[in-house]
Amino acid sequence: MKNEITRDVERVVLALDVNGEARQLLVAVHKTLLEVLREDLQLTGTKHGCELGECGTCTVLIDGRPELSCLSLPIQLQGRAITTVEGMASGSELHPLQTAFAELGAAQCGYCTPGILLSARALLEENARPSRDEIREALAGNLCRCTGYTKILQAIELAAERMR
């Protein structure tokens, strides 16, 4: 196996809409959205646990739908709205989901939290009154190793109630 090193990596200018801000940047074409967010835009709120699509930690919203940033290429996302955890709050006011997660202890180490918050936000925007099973279904791609999920379910229900 010969190993190739791409010394002259092709770079492209990208125009991305991240959390409502228009960003232009020059990046290597093969960089994933996860890498561009964390390294080029310093939006390190988006985390990673596998970088292979297996854990959901890197979830962001693309046009309001949860997708895995470790499996997305920014070049395919131009003109689409990207939302990260940094875009959850409005100004210094936290999103009701964020408040509920904090109040109920739904974030322990907090590492899975950004992805889970975003999946939950997409759910609540579609369904203001999700049943517990609907929440489980919607979040089934996001693993958490700390909480056992119970507090997360409770926090989403609390936020849903407050948002109605």
């Binding site: 196996m1 994933t32 970088e51 292979l52 699509g53 297996e54 959901g56 979830t59 693309i62 739908r65 949860p66 997708e67 895995l68 470790c70 499996l71 997305s72 290429l73 070049i75 395919q76 999946s119 279904e137 919607a138 979040l139 089934a140 791609g141 996001n142």
Partner: protein, 310 residues
């Protein structure tokens, strides 16, 4: 364009199968051809439904017409991996998803340590070392269902456009698992059925989400009251291609669906399945479970007929 770049180019739709494999260096490509330009529409009819290849699995799973008329297909799409992945993954990509093997779906470093196998970089099969071929497993959830629902794919290539039944899209080989030409783009899928066709998909996996199938049964049946007029039973994840259970299909034709018949049909359907030790859980157990999933799928079809929902 694909032809110009030859073997070093690949199409990418949602990228959910391709990107992990690129990262693990299972594929080495110079050029990726994005398929975002393809349309993404579902055109519904009563006995036929045309789905563009770029439609996401989530859209297909939530489409109410598909849910009602092509139930098994919507179920299969909704059982692929996890919600965020289904928002990106496409139905076209799902039909083309690479075959899997737990000696192959590993990082470059792991494969180097294990010794490379024929599917990539090596010259033996680590599952069946005496065999000259690769036994990687067809792991698409929707492909068996597309076959059961008499699906036809549209292909567009440098030599023109053509249609191909989904049942002819696959080959019994873990490496050259697709019968389409590499430069051909899959543009869409047409599913076909009669007014009285019911369908269901049952998937077996360890967890409620994320996991690939380790066995699965896609069943579509045309029913006249109690009796079976025609039926297709296609298994997932037990061979290198979606395995059609012809003997069981033949057996069911003209029969009334009672418990005994369902059990016998499932028995027949499971016979040709030969899972190997290259997916989750033991292959002995998986082999025994094939019968169970087929039975469950037929049972679900039967329940739909009786109006139990589905």
């Amino acid at each position: 364009m694909a032809e110009e770049h030859g073997a070093r180019a690949m199409f990418v739709a949602g990228g959910t199968d391709l990107f992990p494999k690129l990262k693990r260096r299972q594929f080495e490509v110079e050029t990726l051809i994005g398929l975002d330009f393809l349309p993404r529409v579902i055109r519904n009819g009563s006995t036929e439904c045309a789905i563009d290849a770029g439609v996401t699995l989530a859209t297909a799973a939530h489409d109410s017409h598909l849910q009602a008329g092509f139930t098994g297909y919507a179920q299969a799409a909704g059982l692929v991996s996890s919600p965020p992945l289904r928002n990106a993954g496409t139905i076209g990509g799902n039909l083309c998803v690479d075959t899997r093997c737990n000696y192959y779906d590993m990082t470059y470093e792991w494969r180097k340590a294990a010794g490379f196998c024929i599917k990539k970089d090596g010259d033996i099969c680590l599952v069946a070392p005496s065999s000259p071929r690769c036994w990687a497993v067809s792991s698409s959830d929707t492909a068996p269902m597309a076959i059961a629902l008499d699906g036809v794919v549209g292909l567009a290539g440098p030599e023109g456009d053509r249609e191909l039944p989904v049942s002819a899209l696959y080959r019994d080989d873990g490496i050259e698992y697709m019968a389409k030409r590499p430069a051909e783009v899959l543009t869409g899928l047409r599913l076909r059925k009669s007014a009285n066709t019911r369908s269901a998909y049952v998937k077996l996996r360890r967890r409620g989400s994320i996991d690939f199938p380790i066995a699965g049964a896609a069943v579509a049946m045309e029913l006249d009251g109690e009796s079976v007029i025609g039926c297709r039973i296609v298994l997932s994840a037990v061979a290198s291609y979606p395995l059609e259970a012809a003997a069981a299909e033949k057996f069911l034709k003209g029969k009334r669906l009672d418990q005994e018949t369902i059990r016998e049909a499932a028995e027949l359907a499971a016979k040709p399945a030969k899972p190997l030790d290259n997916a989750d859980l033991s292959h002995f157990w998986r082999k025994r479970m094939v019968r169970v999933v087929v039975e469950q799928a037929i049972q679900r079809v039967s329940d739909q007929r009786a109006g139990f929902g589905g």
